[in-house]
């Protein structure tokens, strides 16, 4: 199972936030916003990432919602995905992706997904991952995108048609080392 996209927790940062609150330091608010890319501190591409790729079949009929998709319920039940009423978890790939070593995963319709970890990055003390996602149909790349998400963050991809419905990919990744 992938990590939940929502949650509550008291972390070291929270403790620091508590201290900051007491001191009346406004940096906390700044830490909640995304800094400009230029301000991001790049790290050397190293280590590996652990990614959970949920392959979801969204259809307009029925009201199925698989338990394995509960972490993504807030996103799947909101527009534009709320146009579909049934969500089935077709596959869940747990990938360990060393840096610069793309990992493939199967998709319905003889499509193939490729996920690459291009290294960690950091912004305002927040760890992030740079990843590349490709969806292939044979030799053809239907989609190729590079993106940066927070550690343990989730990105959604949708558009592939499948069995009178839509394929949605929920990609949640965290830095392993």
């Amino acid at each position: 199972m992938g990590k939940s996209v929502t949650g509550r927790g008291i972390s070291g940062a929270a403790v620091a936030g508590l201290l900051g609150f007491w001191l009346g330091v406004p940096q906390l608010a700044l830490a909640q916003t995304d800094p400009p890319k230029a301000a991001q501190v790049e790290s050397q591409a190293s280590g590996s990432a652990a990614c959970s790729v949920r392959v979801i079949h969204a259809t307009a009929g029925g009201s199925r919602f698989d338990a394995g998709l509960e972490p993504l319920r807030p996103q799947l039940t909101r527009p534009p995905l709320s146009s579909w009423t049934s969500f089935a978890l077709l596959q869940q790939h747990e990938l360990s992706i060393p840096s610069a070593t793309p990992q493939q995963f199967a998709l319905p319709g003889e499509h193939v997904g490729v996920l690459s970890y291009e290294g960690p990055t950091e912004a305002s003390g927040k760890k992030r991952l740079r990843l590349r996602l490709e969806i292939k149909d044979g030799a053809a790349k239907l989609l190729s995108t590079k993106f940066v998400i927070n550690d343990s963050g989730t990105m959604l991809q949708a558009g592939l048609k499948h069995d009178k419905g839509l394929l949605v990919l929920g990609i949640t990744c965290r830095i392993v080392s």
């Binding site: 929502t6 996103q75 527009p79 053809a140 239907l142 190729s144 995108t145 998400i149 048609k161």
Partner: protein, 160 residues
């Protein structure tokens, strides 16, 4: 006429008026006078006996009561006296601290930012009609990036 015993007793106990007592004394026979004397002797004898008995048993109630009152008593400490200014300062500090702690807890325990948010798409290439990058807001106001591209199965794909 014989004097009744109850009248004789009242005479002995001085419960008759002086006229009645005098009149009754005039009527007493020798026998009744002897009874009155016997009553007097008996009274004296009883009185002496009681006094003698009481004298032989000295009654000391205080020592017994004092022994009971001498049980260990708790010493009530003197109530601390706090100056009014200091008391108000302490209360104000306590209230402010409690409010600050509550606010801090609200800050710490607030719903965590969804890890699905804060996705930056740096590159995006697709084959087809195009692609759209959307932000899907959850019920907590956090955004998750959704890359949507129009997939047309009949298209002839070309390598990027």
């Amino acid at each position: 006429m014989a004097v009744a015993d109850d009248k004789l007793s009242k005479l002995f106990d001085n419960e008759l008026t002086s006229d009645e007592a005098e009149a009754l004394r005039q009527e007493l026979s020798v026998e009744e006078q002897a009874k009155l004397a016997a009553l007097s002797d008996l009274h004296l004898a009883v009185h002496d006996a009681v006094e003698t008995e009481a004298a032989s048993h000295e009654l000391d109630l205080w020592s017994q009561l004092e022994a009971k009152l001498a049980l260990p008593s708790t010493v009530v400490p003197e109530a601390p006296v706090i100056p009014l200014r200091r008391k108000l300062l302490l209360r104000t500090t306590a209230v402010v601290s409690a409010l600050a702690l509550a606010a801090s807890l609200l800050f710490v325990l607030r719903p965590a930012t969804s890890p699905g948010s804060s996705c930056d798409v740096e590159e995006l290439e697709v084959i087809g009609s195009g692609a759209t990058v959307l932000q899907v807001a959850d019920d907590r106001g956090n955004d998750t990036t959704l890359i949507w591209f129009d997939h047309q199965e009949e298209d002839e794909w070309e390598s990027l």
